[in-house]
Amino acid sequence: MADVQRHVARFTHGSRIPGWDRAADLEKEPAVVPDAATTEVPGELRAAIEDAVRRFPVGDSAFIPALYAVQAQYGWCSPEGIEQAAAVLGRTPAALTAVATFYDMFEMEPLGRKSVYVCTNISCSLVGADQLLAALEEELGEDPDVNLRGFECLGACDIAPMASVDGVYVGPIELGEVPELANQIRQGDDPLPAKQLIRRPCADPKVAEQ
């Protein structure tokens, strides 16, 4: 199986915190808050971040929604986007980068815009998630528009093995359905509509009796 299981950046000592094996550049000027007057920020991005600040006014609590806005704008948390968000928020880009690197859903490198997460945790792997990921990798692995990755438990073990296609949960996916699903992902169509979680009734027989 090709290695599509990407890991959160780890440093030699197993920490997610850089610094132990990367010497600080002492020559470098300390980071500053980008000048809000001279930093050009796309209108949509500025509006989204300002909305986040309205909703989360205390401290830095608008950071995560701001990073989502950057990712929506550029497809990843690009240095340029982070710089712009930092200018709007009045914080250093480093403060935002430190938060972005912690979370699995923030991409720190440019990747395909269509995200396809395949759950490979316990419940899903008991019923063939690794094979599903391998099959999808065969179909979509080369597609530059698709960000295919194995993911930790997505909270949908009832439809295992499953995938989240741009946030739309589908499953249980049979291996025979993989080419069809891959096609839908490529075309940007609704993935396997009949198998979407949102349409699934409750498993509890007591509910159906009501």
Partner: protein, 438 residues
Amino acid sequence: MTDTLLFKGIDEPGLNTIDVYLARGGYTQLQRALKMKRGDLITELTGSGLRGRGGAGFPIGKKASFIPKGDMQKYVVCNADESEPGTFKDRELIQKNPHQLIEGLIIAAFAVDATINYIYIRGEYEQQADILDAAISEARDRGIIGENIFGSGFSVELELARGAGAYICGEETGLLDSLEGKRGNPRLKPPFPANEGLFNGPTLINNVETLSAIPSIIELGAEGYAAIGVKDSAGTKLVSISGNIERPGNYEVELGISSREIIYGLAGGPPDGRKIKCWFPGGSSTPVLTADDLDVGYDYDSIEAAGSMLGSGAIIVVDETQSVVELAYKLAKFYSHESCGKCTPCREGTRWTFHMVERIKEGTATPMDLDIMAAVQEQIIGHCLCVLGDAMAMPIGSLIAKFRDEFEAEIEANRNERERKLAAEFAAAEVEIEGISA
């Protein structure tokens, strides 16, 4: 079990919209609660015996009573960062009946006088977040969230925050840090969130299922609710069943029901009549139980007496065809990936456990490794700020204790396999060398 509380009519079309929810009597329990005295309301919650459904099982009334009284800003935070492998009950509640959660949350907020409140939902639940966001907007438009709700003089704000993919943010203090816009590292306790939580204010943190159960408590009264279930495990519980099982899904059960009834009766047991090798009673963080434990009652105390925990109420069934080494591998991989790195025993312990299970798979492990691995697990438990490390150590420790023979057999088999391969490679290389010299 005669009735469903949390799942009552949950598949009713349009229940996620406020009109349908109001039409079936929604928000009347909130109005009743708003007429009560705060102290009485907390007494009611305490009397119901409802225990936190997120994993720790802490009584909600007691938790609410820890919130200090006074003029400081207080918060209620709903933990909807459902990330425990095997758990998907909150997802169904949020997606199909978001107003029940909002109603329960506002009642809890009124009880502790919290005027600013948050729901923190995991980032992966995008569709569910949209549904919940729409429901909050509807409630705001109808004046159920806002100033002076139902003329009670109580004002309440509610905001939905999204996580971005980190298991650790389900830990309450990690969640608070994430909500404050930081990396989701757990905090040192004490101070507990009840005293110093979000933005240093007193904070009541509860799981989606816990808050969703509150309207039923007001409706049935503390005694009526406490009558459901068994001693010290009151009420109904949503059970998420997955893994090697015929009918995976969420089931609402009365606590105290036998585990066999859930696994075989409701969910149909493993497919093709296969036998159960082991099962996790409360998510992947709980020690495994075996087929011998199937008659244990499904409630907090009985599961604990059997050597495990009810946890989040997620049963993962593993059938006889599965390898325990592979199970340990998946567990260790998950927890080492999700360890935030703040505490050494967890960061190093999860990582080295993962490498040791990898060694078993590669065929380079020795039987002594199992003792070292078991010892590592013991050194993690209780030695960190949060229980993420324990969450790996407990199931892996229990797997080694209960299936040692299988681990040893697999170590032996993989070793022999590797040696056979090496010998073949060596022989092939020798032939080559002979070929050159000739």
